[in-house]
Every structure is written in structure tokens, then in C-alpha cells.
């Protein structure tokens, strides 16, 4: 099992010689993180502190992982010897790739005395590298490791895979080490995201991903990594291959889902196609290809990690047994109906007379606990499984998540997690629209709210609801709504 490096104990069995050059570019990154409650989105959860390391790059920028900055309310850089600190801000962040670029807000003397690091050239299996830690007294500690293999791993947000090194190294699990830089030949080559002390294996985000991220962030508007926007199945089953008429020399992935307005969708790839190769790289039946330098890699690196937004890639597909060539222009799939994460974003909500409305998001579903995938309400899980059934014209799924007992909600107390279909006859496509609709005076003073479950339609007395809302305000509820403007 992998876990982030956390403070365990300070065991100084041996002290390695500090290398002056690389430790000169390493700073401490301290953050205070605080997200929002899923069930009471007007409230914040208790703050947590996280300490890690960052690497100074040119232009007073510091590279670290995104898990250091997700939901941060305060961020600072600290000198290695802990004598000086400076507040910092995020310049660019990619939660999928788990990278963040931060910069000091004020002048920091200690930073100007440091030496910015530069990125190393790509490494491969068998190469050695040096992982750097800082001890409490400011001295650096180096651990040598060997890249055992190169793999696509998700290091922060689940289901998002990026090229990483798996490194065998025997490290001391020190404090303050949520993120550790790795160097090779004096240059930054990766960021360590987790260390398994039992097997002594580290996961280190590769320099390939670091450099793609930095290049994208260079112009100040960060776009992110492209993806094809397809769902796929492997083709190891010989009978399935026979049925798909895949020639014996080919591998191939069976495409079972294509997101609309995605790289693949716009290029005409459809469900049932078999993806044989990308840019001349043959994809095998399990989804791997042969990288000239790195060896066997999972195919998604051909797009996410190797190529940039807007670039054109050549794909070969098999459709009804016929080989076809396609050109795809790479992009990110359109924003999905359900947000995968809400880092740095206060979740929108609306309270009206005691009815609490929220937009459906993955964090909301995950708040149903460890077994959320089976325990969360079935109607909400279905949106996650089959978003295409709901997409027609909707931007978000608005959910009546709960009912606070008030004078206006008598008899509705047991309603929860119902999808809102329409209000006052107007279909509801997101929370902003719901807000606008509820702000208007309804025909007979009653708001009519239609949902997907019993009793399918309820009414709310506008005057009474407004009075209840005033009581909520008086009783200390900071705000009755948080609406993000419609994009």
C-alpha cells in the first residue's frame, strides 16, 4: 500500500553527505487546507496543515504537487533552516496531474540567495536518481534510488493516470515530507508523491509530465493535458477478437463509449470501433505500447503526457473489419455534468424556506462513506454511470439534498436526494437558473417544485419561505446561497 510520507519519527541512522548544488534549490512549502462540508455546504470543515517541499525554478517560481495546495486557505514558503517564511500564491495547478506552480507574494530574501533548478532530460528504467529530504535543522538528506520501472499511476485524483517512475529506495520516513523532489545529474527529474516503507518503493511523477505542465503554464493561462474522451475494453478474449475481425498481428482496444465534443468524438470515432494505433504506435490487446526509450507503457501516455492541446494525432481504427485512418485534434472533453472534484471551489448551494438544493458532484457522492458506490442514492449514482441519459440541455444536476424542518417545509421533512426537474414549469439546468426562477414571483404565491421521486411535485409558499429565510439569516446562517455565475 502506498501512502503519503508523513511524520513518523526522526531516525538518523546514517547521515549522507549533503550535495550543495541540489539542496540549494529546495524550499519548504507549508499549507493550511480547508474544504467545505458536503451535507452543510455553507460550513467549512476543520482546517488541516500539510508540509512538503518545493523546488525553486527560474523567475521565483516553486514547483510542488497539487495535493499541497488543494483547498488551501494559506500557503507559505519557508527556508530550509526554517528561519524565514514568505506567503505564497498558486500560479498554475493541475489536480489530475498532481502538480502546482506557486510563487511568493512578497519579496523574499532567502529565495534570492538560492539557486533555481532546471529540469533534467528524460530518465528511463535503470537510471539512478537522488531523492532529497530536509531535516529539521535545515541540513539536507539524500537517498539514492534506481528507477525500477515506468508506469502510469494516479497520484492524487483517482482515475487520472500519468507517467511515473517506480523507484526502489530505502528512505527514512521523515517529517515534513508530503512532496519530495528527485534529482539526476543536478537537475530536477521528478516529484515523489508516495513511499511504501514496507516494500521500499517510491512513486515519482516523471520529468516528462513536469515539463509538459511547466510549458503549458508558461504563458500564464494553463490549459491542461488533452485526452481522447473514450471508454474502452481490452481485447484479450480470442472469441471477442474473432467477432471484431481483428487481424492476428494486431492488438487493439474496443471503444465502448465516446464523449461528445471530445478529441475522439469530433474525429468521428464511435462506439464499437477498435483503436489499433496512435501516431504509428501499435496498441496491444491489453492497452500497452512500446515506447522507444521507456519500453512497455500504457497507451494513454500517447495522448496525456506526450502530446499537447490542439496538436493533431494520427489514429488507426478498425471499423466492421475495415482499417481506417483518422486525424484527431487533441482537446479536453467538455466539462462533465458531474464535477469530479471541487478543490478551491466552494460548492454552490441554495436554501429556500428550508429546502436545500445542491449541484451533484463526485465529492457529494463520496461523502456517503467508504461504500458510497453502493450506498449513495441510486438515482444520483445513475447520473454518474449514465450521464448521457441526462445530458440533454443540462449543465448540472440540481438535487434537493435535504429538508430542514421549518414552517414552510411541514410534511416534507423526509424528502432527500431528489433530482429537481422543473420549478414553476421551468426546466432547471443548474443552480443559478433555479435561483433566478425562485426569485421571481410565482403565479399564485406558491412555488411548484417537480422532482424525480415521491411525491414528484411539492409546493412552497413564497411569503412563508422568505420569512423563514430571514429567520435563518437571523440565526447565524452566513448566507442562504452560493451561486457561481453561469459560464
Amino acid at each position: 500500500m502506498n501512502f503519503p510520507l508523513l511524520t513518523l519519527s526522526l531516525l538518523l541512522a546514517s547521515t549522507l553527505l549533503a550535495s550543495a548544488e541540489i539542496s540549494h534549490s529546495v524550499v519548504r512549502v507549508n499549507s493550511t487546507l480547508q474544504g467545505y462540508s458536503s451535507s452543510q455546504p455553507w460550513e467549512k470543515t476543520s482546517p488541516r496543515k500539510r508540509r512538503g517541499l518545493g523546488t525553486l525554478l527560474s523567475g521565483s517560481r516553486v514547483l510542488t504537487t497539487s495535493q499541497m495546495v488543494a483547498d488551501n486557505i494559506y500557503l507559505e514558503l519557508e527556508s530550509a533552516d526554517s528561519s524565514e517564511t514568505v506567503p505564497a500564491k498558486v500560479i498554475a495547478v493541475d489536480y489530475d496531474a498532481n502538480l502546482a506552480l506557486i510563487a511568493p507574494i512578497a519579496d523574499a530574501g532567502f529565495l534570492s540567495k538560492m539557486t533555481p533548478a532546471s529540469l533534467g532530460s528524460p530518465a528511463k528504467s535503470g537510471d539512478d536518481l537522488t531523492i532529497l529530504q530536509l531535516e529539521n535543522n535545515g541540513s539536507s538528506q539524500e537517498t539514492q534510488g534506481i528507477i525500477r520501472s515506468m508506469e502510469l499511476l494516479s497520484t492524487f485524483v483517482s482515475g487520472r493516470y500519468f507517467l511515473c517512475y517506480e523507484v526502489k529506495a530505502s528512505m527514512q520516513t521523515e517529517g515534513n515530507s508530503f512532496t519530495l523532489p528527485a534529482f539526476r545529474k543536478g537537475k530536477l527529474i521528478g516529484l515523489l508523491t508516495s513511499y511504501n516503507a514496507k516494500d521500499q518503493i517510491c512513486d515519482i511523477l516523471s520529468v516528462d509530465i513536469l515539463s509538459a505542465f511547466l510549458e503549458d503554464a508558461e504563458n500564464g493561462s494553463y490549459e491542461g493535458f488533452p485526452s481522447l474522451g473514450v471508454g474502452f475494453s481490452t481485447t484479450e478474449d480470442p472469441y471477442f477478437r474473432e467477432w471484431l475481425k481483428i487481424p492476428s498481428g494486431e492488438g487493439g482496444l474496443y471503444i465502448n463509449r465516446v464523449l461528445p465534443k471530445s478529441s475522439a468524438g469530433l474525429a468521428g470515432i464511435t462506439k464499437g470501433d477498435v483503436l489499433l494505433s496512435i501516431d504509428g504506435n501499435k496498441i496491444d490487446r491489453k492497452g500497452y505500447y512500446q515506447h522507444p526509450l521507456y519500453g512497455t507503457l500504457y497507451w494513454t501516455h500517447l495522448v496525456k503526457g506526450s502530446r499537447k492541446m490542439g496538436e493533431s494525432v494520427a489514429a488507426i481504427i478498425l471499423r466492421d473489419g475495415e482499417v481506417q485512418d483518422l486525424q484527431m485534434t487533441l482537446q479536453r472533453p467538455a466539462e462533465s455534468l458531474i464535477e469530479r472534484y471541487l478543490f478551491d471551489k466552494a460548492p454552490p448551494y441554495l436554501i429556500k424556506g428550508g429546502l436545500v438544493f445542491q449541484e451533484l458532484s463526485l465529492p457529494y457522492l463520496k461523502a456517503f462513506g467508504k461504500d458510497w458506490a453502493t450506498r449513495a442514492p441510486m438515482n444520483l449514482l445513475d447520473v454518474l454511470s449514465n450521464p448521457e441519459d441526462y445530458e440533454g440541455g443540462l449543465r448540472r444536476i440540481v438535487v434537493l439534498t435535504r429538508v430542514i424542518p421549518t414552517d414552510a417545509t411541514i410534511g416534507y421533512e423526509r424528502m432527500s436526494n431528489q433530482i429537481v426537474k422543473a420549478v414553476n414549469g421551468q426546466p432547471i439546468t443548474d443552480l443559478a437558473e433555479l435561483n433566478e426562477t425562485l426569485a421571481k414571483h410565482p403565479a399564485n404565491g406558491l412555488h411548484e417544485i417537480e422532482t424525480d421521486d415521491i411525491p414528484y411535485r411539492i409546493y412552497l409558499d413564497q411569503t412563508l419561505a422568505n420569512r423563514v429565510d430571514q429567520q435563518f439569516k437571523a440565526s447565524g446562517l452566513p448566507s442562504l446561497s452560493r451561486i457561481h455565475p453561469v459560464k
Partner: protein
């Protein structure tokens, strides 16, 4: 949360042999015949089907329970005492002779059964127990039976502490009136009479796992209904209107439906498709009376000073009975008569007993229709499957789709080595044809002139399952033999 109720499962426990031996008491004169003599011990040998290997004979087991004589060769007991029985033996009090018996009627939804013995002669001089009424709260009752801990009759006294509508755990899907007493009902007590003033006021049937000294008994209204239902030689089940209601407490709700704030009338929130009310009652009708009883805004009625759920009127009815509903529709007062009938589709959510599990096996792929028993066996977590199960009744899926067919198992073979990931998914189509029943998939898999490939599509599946027909036909007998599958299908 509702407490876990367990039926008092019969148990064959070794009799306790460590009791201290006393000098034998002098034999008394033949005791007078009392009503206790009419309480009999029931010994049952069971055979419970195994839904995970439906072709097998199932588990053999057995246990003891209690019954009592209520008429000419009629013994009343719990359904769970004699469910899945292969052999039923009845023993008189103070005798060791075992009399073969058989189940005449069994009602799993109210956990009652009626038995008869092959030769009634030995029982013919026993008194038939008489039925009483509802015991009062705080009054004392005695549960008579053969609970664990000994072979002889046992009497347990308790006080009636509550009369309530509660789940009957035998079927896992039904709730009826229940009397709670402050005495433990132990395994073996099940089916025994509960007596007050020499009259039966209920049948002991279940205990509570989280609390000591709590027992539940089936009261006379439920027992009486069962006996009346089977009087025509057939058990027809409880009736159901098939309506979901929603309380009309909210003033805005009442205003929207133009109702006075008088606390009357309940909203129809859903009419279950295929139920007797479909086409007669509509969603958003407001029910005002049921058989002349006024319905309040929570869906309750008052009968003889007692406050009851309106469904209790339906509880006491039988197949073919008529219920009269008056209701408001768009402000107009209307009346309808509903002829009650049993609603078999709703039993998908009830535990089944005494039936052979249906299945079909082809080329190592085991298909079974989704029901409560299957769900209890496999604990499915596929989202589409769970949703189809949920919607089967409420969305009326059953009307066009008799069975939700699940690929439950993939037996190991060279043919199926890449197919195990499909287990636990619902079959949508075979060879492009939508599957609506187990029989249909059985026939499609065994068709005389099959296409080159058999393709099976699953609900929410990431790809179709594909096997060449010729290889599948060759593998079918091989896998049956390897896995020891004795039958390839039970379709009815």
C-alpha cells in the same frame, strides 16, 4: 432504524443430559385432558434450495416447532416452521409416537400454516383450542410450546406491552399487526398458541435479536384472516391497493390543491403500474374516504375509536372483495370501486420458499431470474442491476419483462476463461433480441440454427460477451460434466 427481527428459527439441539438425577416420582393417575394436550410438537426435515448451485438438491436440515389443534384434523403453526419441508411429524404431549403430517395451506406473507395428520384418530379426543380476541395492554398471556432446552411442554408468561404494525421477518417483505409481549419467544416456541383465559389470543412467531425478553405474537385479526382466506381451499395472499400516498400537512400543498385546512385527505403520490388501481386512481388524486371511513391528511382512519392506517382496511379484505374510494380530482369529487386481487409481481421482494429455483445453464454460463432469494445469495453490487430490481414494481418493468435475467455464474473452462467479469450483470439482449424472460434466453441459446456467434449484451456492460456457437455447443456437455451440473434448466 428498524431492529433486526429474526424468526425463531427451529433448532435441533442436543438435549441437556447434565441435569441432576432425582428419584423417579411416583406415577400419578392419568392426568385430566387439558387444553395443553392439544399443543403438539412438530418435527420437520427440510431441504432448502441453494440459489448459488440451483441444479443441486440443496441443503438438508431440520428442526422443531410447535402447533396446536384448532379443528377436525387441523393444526395451526407458523409458515417458517414447515417451510421447505420434506417430512413433517407431529408428536402428542406425553407420547413419543410420531405421526406423519402434511402441509395443507401455507401463507408466507403472514407466517401461518395449517397442517393435517395422516391418521387423526389418536388426536380425535383432544379439545380443539378456541379463539379469543385482542388481549388488552398490560394483561397477562401464556405462550405454550416446545422451545429449546428440553423435550417437554413449556409455558412462558408475559405481559402484553404493545400492539403495533410491524415487519414479519419470514418473508422479509410484509408488515401486519403484531402483539409484543415482555417474555422471550425462543426457538421451538414458534407456532405455539398464546393463551389468555383458556382462549387463543395469538400465535408465537418471532423474537428480537437486540433485546432480551421481547417476544412477538401474531394476533387474532391476522390468524382469522388466514383461516378465512383458506376456507375456499386456496390461499390468495394479502391484497394491496398499489398506491403510495404522501401526507398533505403542508399548507402550501393544501392551497395548491384547493383544500381547506381541515386536516382531511391524503395525496396519491404514485399508482403502482399493473395494480388494481391503475387506470382508476391517478397520481395527485386526493383520497377522502375508504369504505366510508374518513381519511386524514396522514392517510389514517378511525375505526371504532381506534386510529389505523388506511391500508388496514385493505389488510382485512380478500381476493374479489371491493373497496370503495372517494377522492378529489381537479377539485371534483369522485367515487370508484376497486376489485381487489393478489399482485404476484410484488412478491419479487419477498423470500420464496418451497419452490425450485429457476435457472438455465449453457456453455458454463448460468442464468437466473432476479428475485429476493437471488439477491440474498449473491449480494449484487452492479448499479444497473440494483436499479432494475428497484424499478421492477414501481416503474412497472414487470409488465413487459417477466424476468430480469442475470448471468450469475461463469463456470471455468477454456471457452469461458475471459468471461468471468460478466458475472453479476443483467442480460439485455441475446443475438440482438431483447430478453424478457428466462424461458426466452433458454430458447435462444438452444436454437436449432444458431448464428456464427452468440452475442450477449448486458445492461451497462462495457462490451458484449461473444462466443462462437459451434464451440459453445461442444463445450456445453463438457462443462456440465466437469462442474457436476445435473440439470441444465428449471424454467417453471
Amino acid at each position: 432504524m428498524r431492529p433486526a427481527l429474526l424468526p425463531v428459527i427451529l433448532a435441533l439441539l442436543p438435549s441437556i443430559s447434565s441435569s441432576q438425577l432425582l428419584d423417579p416420582a411416583p406415577l400419578s393417575e392419568a392426568p385430566p385432558v387439558t387444553l395443553y394436550d392439544s399443543v403438539v410438537r412438530i418435527e420437520v426435515a427440510t431441504q432448502t434450495p441453494d440459489y448459488s448451485t440451483p441444479w443441486n438438491s440443496g441443503r438438508f436440515g431440520g428442526g422443531i416447532g410447535t402447533g396446536f389443534l384448532i379443528g377436525q384434523n387441523r393444526f395451526l403453526t407458523n409458515a417458517h416452521v414447515v417451510s421447505d419441508s420434506r417430512r413433517v411429524l407431529i408428536t402428542k404431549r406425553g407420547s413419543s409416537q410420531k405421526h406423519p403430517a402434511r402441509v395443507l395451506h401455507i401463507a408466507h406473507d403472514c407466517d401461518l400454516a395449517l397442517l393435517e395428520v395422516e391418521n387423526f384418530e389418536p388426536f380425535s379426543r383432544l379439545p380443539q383450542l378456541q379463539f379469543g380476541g385482542m388481549p388488552r395492554l398490560e394483561s397477562e398471556v401464556s405462550a405454550i410450546g416446545y422451545p429449546v432446552g428440553g423435550d417437554r411442554l413449556s409455558v412462558t408468561r408475559g405481559i402484553v406491552s404493545r400492539i403495533d404494525f410491524r415487519p414479519y421477518s419470514h418473508s422479509r417483505a410484509d408488515s401486519h399487526l403484531v402483539i409484543q409481549i415482555d417474555a422471550a419467544i425462543n426457538p421451538g416456541n414458534s407456532g405455539g398458541p398464546v393463551i389468555q383465559n383458556d382462549k387463543v389470543v395469538g400465535v408465537a412467531f418471532q423474537g428480537l435479536t437486540q433485546a432480551d425478553n421481547t417476544g412477538y405474537i401474531i394476533p387474532m385479526p391476522v390468524v382469522g384472516r388466514f383461516l378465512k382466506d383458506v376456507a375456499d381451499g386456496r390461499y390468495d395472499h394479502y391484497m394491496d391497493l398499489g398506491l403510495n400516498t404522501f401526507p398533505l400537512f403542508n399548507p402550501a400543498m393544501r392551497q395548491a390543491f384547493d383544500l381547506k385546512p381541515d386536516g382531511k385527505g391524503v395525496l396519491v403520490a404514485r399508482v403502482v403500474p399493473g395494480s388494481q388501481c391503475e387506470g382508476i386512481i391517478k397520481r395527485e388524486d386526493i383520497l377522502l374516504t375508504i369504505d366510508g371511513h374518513k381519511i386524514d391528511s396522514a392517510g389514517n382512519i378511525k375505526v371504532g375509536g381506534e386510529f389505523l392506517d388506511m391500508n388496514e382496511v385493505v389488510e382485512r379484505k380478500f381476493a374479489g372483495d371491493i373497496i370503495t374510494l372517494s377522492f378529489l380530482r381537479e377539485g371534483k369529487k369522485m367515487t370508484a370501486e376497486i376489485t381487489l386481487e393478489a399482485f404476484p409481481a410484488s412478491r419479487i421482494y419477498a423470500m420464496k420458499y418451497g419452490v425450485n429455483p429457476r435457472f438455465t445453464v449453457y456453455a458454463g454460463l448460468v442464468f437466473q431470474p432476479l428475485d429476493f432469494n437471488l439477491f440474498a445469495t449473491y449480494k449484487f453490487d452492479d448499479r444497473k442491476l440494483r436499479q432494475l430490481y428497484d424499478d421492477y414494481l414501481s416503474k412497472g418493468t414487470f409488465k413487459e419483462r417477466k424476468d430480469i435475467v442475470v448471468l450469475t455464474r461463469v463456470e471455468s473452462d477454456q471457452l469461458t476463461s475471459h468471461l468471468s467479469g460478466f458475472a453479476g450483470m443483467v442480460v439485455e439482449k441475446v443475438n440482438g433480441k431483447a430478453i424478457k424472460s428466462l424461458k426466452e434466453i433458454h430458447e435462444l441459446l438452444h436454437q436449432d440454427d444458431p448464428p456464427e456467434f452468440i452475442t450477449i449484451e448486458f445492461a451497462g456492460g462495457s462490451r458484449p460477451l461473444v462466443i462462437p456457437s459451434a464451440e459453445a455447443a461442444a463445450a456445453h456437455p463438457r462443462i456440465m460434466q466437469q462442474v457436476g451440473i445435473s440439470r441444465e434448466a428449471v424454467l417453471d
